[in-house]
């Protein structure tokens, strides 16, 4: 059953595997999946693991179950209108709909979405609603007599069908699921039969409900619509050079440099105090001590055009770090490479000798941020020595480079620097690897 689902969802960068299927099977077994809308809800709970999965998930779902491909930059409406599934559905829908009503395109799409995202909860609500409605409306008879209450026979049948349909057995359901898959394979047959007369949705005909019988499903459709156009529901590009959009992802990666440790220690003063109070009966009192250590030196190359686009974001990154963890964070600036001084301010007017820098605690972690691209003569022996002495003193030193990785091998100075210390791209992924690299060496 649905064995191609994991592979198809993985194409969208989602994590789905055989466990997803097993869990899905369990959910179906428990009777939580009766409609396509249920499938959307249920799979979302299983597959989506963070808000950034919602966009890809919605796309994958529309592609897999409805054969609707949502391209980048598409709105959900565009994609639906373009699809064959919608065309088929529309023909069928209009065939059976009230001939007197003229549906606008918007209404059609809304109805389509309503049907796609109809859940069995909605059906229950409709059925319950109908019962309550009937019971609570004493004027019902009069209205019917006057012909105002136009609950047609067809609608009554529809409700009946809904009730039936909520008793659908697992086997039937699986069979139907299989069927759509087959239909998708042979394209000429077009869309899915989840929707439509023979399909799984009881609302195949008749259009919107009347007389206060609310058709639900707006929830799911609305959500899907919202998700498709909103950047927040897509993963940030973790391989893009750090920018305002992915600075939070970078922050998350860099947080790994915080050293955390917790230990249970004997609280001697309290033990003695309480022991004396008890008249010499000394009982051990424990106290758990936690230490969070963040000692970072950041050296930023802010000279020259090549670096200027990144300096602001990098500063923002470390500023965020500092506000969240009030610990030792030292920022220095340099131009192209480090000779015997670095600077305390961005305008490079307050020099700070490298000799003094080397007096810092050796547990500081050092980030160089720069493109390391310069004229070969600039990276002279003095500079190389400075860099080497820093690496020697601070075991955990890395260089983050905003230059795209593919150009690194063409720049001589990058290669030289790479021989002195590990270099990583200035991307969320790169930062993550840099931090991992630092943690790996953390045998002190």
């Amino acid at each position: 059953m649905l064995s191609s689902l994991p592979a198809s969802f993985r194409e969208y960068g989602l994590s789905a595997d055989v466990r997803t299927l097993l869990l899905l099977r369990k959910v179906i077994d428990r009777g939580l999946v009766k409609t396509l809308g249920d499938m959307y809800t249920v799979l979302r709970g299983i597959v989506v693991k963070e808000p950034a999965d919602l966009g890809p998930y919605t796309k994958a779902y529309y592609r897999y179950f409805l054969d609707i491909a949502i391209q980048n930059g598409d709105s959900l409406e565009d994609a639906i209108l373009r699809s064959e599934t919608f065309e088929k559905w529309k023909t069928q829908f209009l065939d059976e709909a009230d001939k007197d009503t003229n549906y606008t395109q918007e209404e059609l799409i809304n109805t389509f979405l309503d049907q796609v995202h109809l859940t069995h909860y909605d059906i229950k609500e409709v059925i319950n609603g109908k019962e309550i409605f009937d019971k609570e409306d004493p004027d019902l008879k009069d209205k019917e007599a006057e012909g105002e209450y136009d609950m047609t026979e067809r609608e009554a049948r529809k409700l009946e069908k809904m009730a039936d349909y909520s008793d659908l057995s697992l086997e039937e359901l699986l069979e139907r699921l299989e069927k759509i898959k087959e239909q998708q394979k042979s394209r000429h047959e077009g869309g899915s039969h989840w929707i439509g007369t023979g399909g799984i949705s009881p609302f195949g005909h008749g259009g919107a409900a009347k007389n206060g019988v609310r058709i639900g499903g707006t929830g799911g459709g609305k959500m899907a619509r919202k998700v498709i156009g909103d950047r927040n529901y897509y993963p940030v590009d973790r391989d893009a050079i750090i920018n305002d959009n992915n600075v939070d992802a970078a922050l998350a990666s860099i947080k790994g440099v915080i050293e955390e440790s917790a230990t249970e220690n004997l609280d001697i003063p309290v033990t003695i105090q309480s022991g004396l109070k008890r008249g010499g009966l000394f009982l051990p009192e424990m106290r758990s001590d936690k230490s969070e250590k963040l000692q970072i030196i950041v050296l930023i190359d802010n000279g020259g055009y090549s670096m200027s686009p990144f300096v602001k974001t990098v500063q923002e990154l470390f500023r965020k770090m500092k506000t969240r963890f009030a610990h030792d964070l030292e920022v220095f600036y340099f131009h192209n490479t480090v000779y015997d001084v670095v600077y305390k301010d961005a305008r490079r007017t307050k020099p700070f000798e490298v000799k003094r820098l080397l007096k810092y605690d050796k547990h500081y972690r050092v980030f160089f941020i720069g493109d390391a691209s310069m004229a070969p003569y600039e990276l002279d022996s003095e500079s190389i020595q400075s860099l080497q002495s820093i690496v020697k003193k601070f075991k955990k030193t890395v260089w983050l480079n905003p230059e795209p990785l593919k150009y690194w091998s063409f720049t001589y100075t990058i290669q030289v620097v790479q021989q002195i210390m590990e270099m990583f791209p200035l991307t969320p992924n790169g930062i993550e690897r840099a931090v991992q690299h630092m943690n790996k060496k953390s045998v002190v």
Partner: protein, 303 residues
């Protein structure tokens, strides 16, 4: 039988349909529900109101930076154990000396190890069928906590330390487990894999007005509408800490002390802005932006 009815909220709590469905699914499957979302969107409120409205036991474990699985499941109280066993010795000595007053161990018997096991919320929830277990703000935990928890949650059974007592629960009686997170820390993938995930979306106007009605049924609609306009506008300014549901509810609590007409004026003057804006840079930004463009609120500007 497990409590698997479909729950859609109570008088005080509006449970969004998709959240209600995710919660239902989690309970039917006996899996924990992991809720994420902006602070102040009612993540913690869900299990509280759920247990209240159905009269179920609620066990809460607020996660902090020092949380350990011991605290969550059960802890053996070594100190009490040591004390009581020393008291036994003392009592024996006193008896020898012919003193009849005995020191009490408070009904605990050092021979019975189970007397010294302090059960945490997890063990308590697992020993009462159909309870509700809330693990609040798991992202505040030390990094290894979620993984330790994972082991605990994936077996429907805990073994008590030292005493070896087994606390076990059948799948039918599984407590409804709700875990909340503010996403301050990424949770391990394996951990998320064991949970049903739900991201609480920020409510739109329709839903927000319903939420407001549940909390402040006495406020006139016009007032709520004006307040919501201001509120959504503030959210759009791109503040560091955008105001959320909790903030507007608090703000309205302040606003509603005045009569409708006065209240609208108050809103337009942005009185009590401190309830909405929580950081100084944000406050500066709001004041700056509103001065530049006083027509933003179709009313008199600030000051």
């Amino acid at each position: 039988m497990a409590e698997t009815t479909y729950w859609t909220g109570s008088e005080k709590y509006l449970c969004d349909t998709s959240l209600a469905q995710a919660f239902h699914m989690a309970r039917v499957l006996g899996m924990p529900l992991l809720i994420e979302g902006e602070p102040g969107t009612g993540k913690t409120e869900l299990p509280i109101h759920y247990s209240n409205s159905l009269g179920l036991d609620l066990h809460v474990y607020p996660v902090g930076s020092k949380s350990t699985v011991d605290q969550f499941v059960a802890k053996f109280d070594h100190v009490k154990y040591l004390r009581d066993s020393q008291i036994e010795i003392l009592n024996a000595q006193r008896e020898e000396k012919g003193l009849d007053s005995r020191l009490s161990t408070g009904g605990r018997n050092p021979e019975v190890l189970a007397d010294y096991v302090a059960k945490g919320p997890a063990a308590l929830a697992y020993s009462s069928p159909n309870s509700v277990l809330l693990i609040d703000e798991i992202d505040k935990a030390p990094r290894e906590f979620p993984n330790d928890l994972l082991y605990a949650l994936s077996h429907r059974k805990f073994i008590m330390p030292e005493s070896g007592e087994v606390v076990e629960i059948s799948e039918e009686d599984m407590p409804a487990i709700v875990i909340t997170s503010n996403r301050e820390q990424e949770l391990p993938t394996a951990f998320k894999g064991r949970c049903i995930y739900h991201y609480i979306d920020f409510p739109d106007k329709d839903i927000l007005s319903k939420i407001i009605e549940k909390h402040h049924p006495d406020i006139a609609d016009e007032v709520v509408n004006v307040a919501m306009d201001v509120f959504y506008h503030l959210r759009k300014l791109g503040l560091e800490r955008a105001p959320t549901t909790r903030e507007i509810l608090n703000w309205l609590k302040y606003i509603k002390q005045s009569a409708s007409k006065e209240a609208i004026e108050k809103i337009e003057r942005l009185e009590g802005l401190g309830a909405l804006i929580k950081t100084q840079p944000d406050m500066d930004k709001v004041q700056r932006l509103l001065r530049v463009d006083p027509n933003n609120f179709s009313g008199p500007s600030l000051n």
